[in-house]
Symmetry: C2
Subunit: 382 residues, 2 copies
């Protein structure tokens, strides 16, 4: 709690909005935060003490020398670099042996099966023949995903013919590392859920209420917290899955487990993210302890905070793309004026169509009212 | 809402905890914030783009050149410098003609009387003879205050003989500017209240619920929000006084009006502060829009946010002084572990006995429960 008294110095690799939103709780908790940003214009650039390429070992090692703990805005730092950091005695959270399951979807599926966690039917496929066999066995349609590097709907295709993944197989062949694609059954889901969990190195963990996420065009559009209850048993199962995964993969920091709720009442894990996640942005206002504060507490090995809701309902709506017309500040003022209860979060990013440039959260007692207000406030930027 | 789109650049003069706590909402709103800090080790140093003396005109002019709006962490910037900034076309909020009433207690008392706002019986006294006359007319005891530079109980004495202010008269005489001291009746108050108001340059204003402040040794120790209702008419009068003063002095940004509630049911104004104030720290978690966010909105001339409470009650307790024994981080972890619902705010300051080094806020439905939790969490640092 002070410079003189050994405040923990946290280094965040990646300068996007997740790093940006870690800065406010770091200020309040009295933790020192530094960011290794990709470019001078990054979302978290104001907290950046270093600008450089996270794929360059020496850049990362030099940055790590200035902090006590290294954590992440994204999962793209090569595992070899992180393992070397650990060999050099740097605390890395999440640890590379956990992070690999968020970096490689095939490893993730294998691990989840090993943990007995329900997942969609899947196979790792090495060529078009194997993919076509999977398609034939699953009614002629399937989802195919690149194992590494996908994000926000990129690297995901719904296909009905193996030839539709030919370019990806070609890229893998060029890569020469014998990579595979992940083929999955096309799940007949009624909605998507997300379970956030934070876990300390000691294993102590806390969950937030399960939320419902609403995607549009493969990108998270809205989050309803807590998820409106359909079957309480389903929500309890989602929470249990989140805890099992957090423990099973040994994550430290925040883990997001994205799940499908199927028409026949099952809950299947779709994706994992080992960092604060879009489905947890509601928690800045909606929870006693936000995912960003909790992530910092967890990676600094400080006791975790309470995750209760601060109101009956919180709805987060992403603001996408740039202004269609007129200067942004004018629209910003109009949005603030029309929605005094809405909490606006700008990522200070160059607007491009479809890019997340901010979000809006509204909290209150009635979900429908709160949701209508949040949607209207976000729409002020369309 | 973005670098490219003309984000307002706000410059804060003064690097204390108030500037520090403006940084989180600036990040969320997408406003650029810079701080002119006194020293490298200031509380808000992590946001500081400049370090220098706010009494040096050229330092302030150079800082102002880098921002769109100048605002303050404290009221000590000489008025001549601020008037010159305005002559140079810089937006200064609060404006120097408003700020003078927070800089000089005699000007403040004159203005409040002119506005018809109830104040304790007072006089500006030039020497011991005038002070003794005031004492004699007020039962032989009074409060004497330096007109300028007092803060947190400094520059305030309760006296029963004019000789007790001899050193202050001597200092004023050396100063050669013909200054006076402020003599005031010793108010028989039952409690202290504070009304926060935020006002835009256009005059649009919002108030928060009136709070009760509890002082110990002349320093704010606790804030109960909203003030437990004794007589609703009293609270309504306090709110009305706040609005009258904000409008009457033409403040822009946040104004705190500290008041006495007297045994005979009157509400008298004690002090004014034209900046976010200790009595408003509860609003970070306790209000839809915190005083820090609202101050930024007001000085950037953006629409003001809703000031409703987020829970029935919020209690803030200051953390004073340094650790009596043992390293702070150890105590910090223990405090977080014991109080998962408490929100801890560290100012990253060198602890010294009696110095405010942080605060704790708890929100909830029952005031007594919330207060007990906040006191216990703050006491973990004693």
């Amino acid at each position: 709690m002070g410079a003189e008294s050994g405040s923990v110095r946290i280094g965040v690799i990646g300068g996007g909005q997740l790093a940006r939103m870690m800065v406010p709780p770091a200020i309040h908790l009295g933790l020192r935060i530094s960011v290794l940003a990709e470019t001078e214009g990054s979302s978290a650039a104001r907290a950046a003490d270093a600008v450089g390429d996270y794929r360059d070992p020496d850049t990362v090692y030099a940055f790590a020398d200035t902090v006590d703990v290294v954590t992440f805005d994204h999962e793209h730092v090569p595992n070899e670099i992180l393992l070397e950091l650990e060999r050099r005695g740097v605390a890395v959270h999440p640890r590379p042996e956990a992070l690999q399951f968020a970096q490689d979807k095939i490893l993730m599926r294998q691990k989840l099966e090993e943990l007995g966690v329900p997942v969609p039917s899947w196979a790792a496929v090495s060529d078009e023949g194997e993919l076509q066999a999977f398609l034939d066995a699953h009614g002629g349609r399937a989802v195919v995903k690149t194992a590494r590097g996908g994000y926000d709907g990129k690297g995901v295709r719904v296909i009905s013919d193996a030839g539709e993944a030919r370019d990806w197989f070609a890229t893998l062949a060029e890569d020469g590392r014998g990579g595979q694609l992940l083929a999955e059954e096309l799940v007949d889901f009624t909605r998507e859920l997300s379970q956030l969990v934070a876990r300390r190195p000691s294993g102590d963990a806390r969950t937030w209420p399960v939320v419902e996420t609403i995607q549009r065009d493969g990108v998270c559009a809205e989050v309803l917290a807590p998820a409106p209850v359909a079957d309480p048993a389903t929500l309890a199962r989602a929470a249990e899955i989140g805890e099992t995964v957090a423990e099973g993969v040994g994550v430290t920091g925040v883990l997001a487990v994205e799940m499908f709720e199927t028409r026949d009442g099952r809950v299947l894990v779709n994706e994992l993210a080992m960092r604060p996640h879009n489905s947890g942005h509601f928690s800045i206002e909606g929870s006693v302890t936000s995912q960003f504060e909790q992530h910092l507490r967890a990676v600094a090995d400080l006791p975790l905070g309470d995750t209760a809701m601060t109101a009956s309902a919180a709805v987060m709506v992403n603001v996408l793309g740039g202004p269609a017309e007129g200067p942004m500040p004018v629209r910003y003022a109009a949005a603030l004026a029309a929605h005094p209860r809405a909490k606006f979060h700008s990522y200070d990013k160059q607007p491009r169509p479809g890019r997340k440039v901010g979000h809006v959260t509204v909290t209150g007692e009635d979900l429908d009212t709160v949701r209508a207000e949040a949607l209207a406030a976000a729409r002020a930027f369309d």
